[in-house]
């Protein structure tokens, strides 16, 4: 288990400001944030590569704040893997074992075992310069995992890979906690990548922890405008009024559009309503669904495998919907045409109208 308490660190233009979080054993934890958010600095502080300005790092309950990197038992894999170019793949993987003075036969056995688990046992005689991106990634993982670290710290592990390899390696990364019994802390700036691998996600912005939760929490229930925009929730709608009924909550987006929401604690006004465009339902005919209303198509934009339809309600509220090519073919909507829009209750989320959560 890794615990970070009120960690502060300034490093050139980057800074971490009072981050506190706990990462459970064998958890796949993602530090997510835009470029320059301070997530790599945070990861490197956990690895012990920079002394912290203030705060604490605890590893398995032991205070590790001032321990040098070699005594933390955490393995770090930088963005471009940094394989030792003067050593073969075998020697790269064996590096940590030789430092721990393992016997030759045991090194041989362990290197082959880990290399086999990662599918690179046929590459052991090669040198890093001759490997593909995916092979280099697996070699770096093998080198990091071979010593059985408490946690594996991965800095943007998929960013240097092509799309196909990225999907494949993401699946392999996801299996690491189970396969090797290790905790994984993964830094990335892509929420799709985070959703693909994470048990839990912490979103970092301007050096601060903005939201922490399961991928579903972050994706569907952002706690501020920044998270909603970062998660590409295109419909972030100002709320006109909010009231609690007997079984549902009611929220008005304008004088003519009122939506029913599940009865949950409501934020104070000013508030925002979010709904992901892929959860917006469009139909040609009036519907009996809840939160169904009429709107006019404003814009139709094909986006490769899907189509984005922008509609405007009678009161002038703009809503974006993302539909498949197949649905678009069936509806065949054109700008200016009328359409029925439905917003499912479980896809609606209310949040305070703030850029970032209150400190």
């Amino acid at each position: 288990m890794i615990r970070i308490c009120g960690l502060h660190k300034r490093l050139g233009d980057f800074a971490v400001r009072g981050v506190s979080l706990t990462i459970a054993e064998k958890e796949y934890f993602v530090l997510l944030g835009p470029t320059g958010a301070g997530k790599t600095v945070l990861l490197e502080c956990v690895a012990g590569l920079h002394p912290v300005d203030s705060g604490e790092v605890l590893i398995n309950g032991q205070r590790a704040t001032f321990l040098p990197p070699e005594r933390r038992n955490l393995s770090y894999v930088p963005q471009d893997y940094v394989l030792f170019p003067h050593l073969s793949v075998f020697e790269n993987i064996a590096f940590g074992l030789r430092l721990r003075r393992w016997r030759g036969a045991d090194i041989e056995r362990r290197v082959h075992e880990v290399a086999k688990m990662l599918g690179i046992d046929h590459l052991l005689a090669r040198h890093p310069a001759t490997l593909s991106g995916g092979e280099q990634q697996r070699t770096a993982l093998a080198r990091a995992l071979v010593t059985g670290p408490t946690a594996l710290l991965l800095d943007e592990p998929l960013s240097a890979l092509d799309e196909n390899t990225r999907v494949q390696i993401a699946a392999e990364l996801r299996s690491l906690p189970e396969k090797f019994g290790t905790t994984v802390v993964h830094v990335c700036h892509s929420f799709e990548e985070a959703l693909r691998v994470a048990d839990r996600v912490a979103v970092i912005h301007q050096g601060k922890l903005v939201q922490i939760g399961t991928p579903d929490d972050i994706f569907m229930r952002p706690n501020c405008r920044f998270i909603a925009e970062f998660m590409r929730v295109k419909n972030i709608l100002p709320v006109f009024s909010l009231e609690t009924g007997e079984s549902v909550a009611r929220c008005s987006l304008d004088s003519s559009l009122t939506l029913d929401l599940p009865l949950k604690p409501l934020p104070d006004l000013p508030a925002l309503l979010t709904v992901r465009p892929e959860n917006v339902i469009l139909e040609r005919e009036p519907s009996s669904r809840v939160n169904s209303f009429r709107a006019t198509v404003a814009e139709v934009s094909p986006l490769g495998s899907s189509v984005e339809i922008r509609v405007t309600t009678a009161g002038g509220v703009g809503i974006a919907a993302l539909i498949t090519r197949q649905v678009d073919k069936q509806l065949s909507l054109r700008p200016g045409e009328e359409v029925w829009v439905s917003l499912p209750q479980d896809a609606l989320h209310l949040l305070p109208d703030r850029d970032l959560p209150e400190e």
Binding site: E44, E70, L74, P78, F84, H86, F95, L99, A144
Partner: protein, 278 residues
């Protein structure tokens, strides 16, 4: 709009404006002029001596003594530069040295000072009580053979440090960071990662230092003197030969130095060496 005057371009190629062409021609002309000047001056010296005279001069016992003494002293001084230069270069490359600009200036000083001053400084140092103690209890340097090594080392070590620092600068420090997280102490990371990765640059720096050491003259003349069969390294031998009218003997040794310098520089460049004063 006025069109730039251009040379006739081939199909598919953008025309080269005439101003650019003139600029290119002028810079290349200066390059050619410098090459002709350097080649001409050095060539004149080489072609002045006949082959049989050259061989006879080099096989002269005094020349052979100078060559042997030079090889020993230059190699010893280069080894000393390596021993001192590698840790200093690593510290400068990896650490934020307090008063960095002052430290840098002090380290670079011997590079820009006339070698004569290095010799005078050494001479003066050995007049101090510490210097006299070293002379009495450890080893005699002034006007002696070990003094030659010191007189070469003093003005050369800056160049060694600079070229070796460039070699360490070329090694991404993340290699060391990864090594640390894999279990290396700082010392182990240096030996197992930084040093092997900087090896080519360090070898290049050593070659450059060795070549530069061959030319040390002023400091040796001042600190070790010019006594025949005692402190006559090649530059001193050349000086003595030229001042006593033995032109062919002096030029023959000069040609040997020139050849060694060319070979060393070529090796330095082939090894991708970089030496900067920064």
């Amino acid at each position: 709009m006025e069109q730039p005057v251009s040379t006739g371009a081939k199909d598919g190629q953008a025309p080269l404006p005439i101003g650019n062409l003139v600029f290119k021609l002028v810079t290349n002309l200066f390059l050619l002029l410098l090459l002709v000047l350097l080649g001409g001056v050095l060539g004149a010296m080489v072609f002045y001596v006949r082959w049989d005279e050259f061989v006879a001069s080099i096989l002269d016992p005094e020349s052979l003594f100078a060559l042997k003494l030079t090889a020993i002293c230059v190699t010893a001084s280069t080894a000393l530069c390596l021993v001192v230069g590698i840790p200093v270069a690593y510290a400068l490359s990896r650490q934020q040295v307090p008063l960095g600009i002052v430290v840098d200036t002090i380290i670079d000083l011997p590079l820009v000072l006339p070698q004569l001053i290095a010799g005078i400084a050494l001479l003066m140092f050995f007049q101090t009580s510490l210097g006299v103690w070293i002379e009495t209890h450890i080893m005699g340097f002034v006007y002696r053979t070990p003094g030659i090594v010191l007189a070469i080392f003093f003005p050369t070590v800056s160049l060694a440090v600079r070229s070796m620092k460039a070699a360490f600068d070329g090694v991404d420090r993340r290699y060391e960071q990864v090594a640390r997280t894999l279990g290396c102490t700082e010392t182990q990371a240096f030996w197992k990662v930084s040093l092997p990765l900087a090896r080519t640059g360090l070898v290049a720096g050593t070659v450059l230092t060795w070549a530069y050491s061959l030319g040390a003259f002023g400091s040796i003349l001042m600190f070790a003197g010019a006594t025949r069969y005692k402190t006559t390294v090649v530059p001193i031998a050349i000086f003595l030969n030229m001042t006593t009218g033995k032109i062919t003997a002096g030029l023959s040794l000069t040609i040997v130095l020139l050849a060694l310098a060319v070979i060393s520089l070529f090796a330095f460049k082939r090894l991708g060496g970089r030496a900067t004063i920064a």
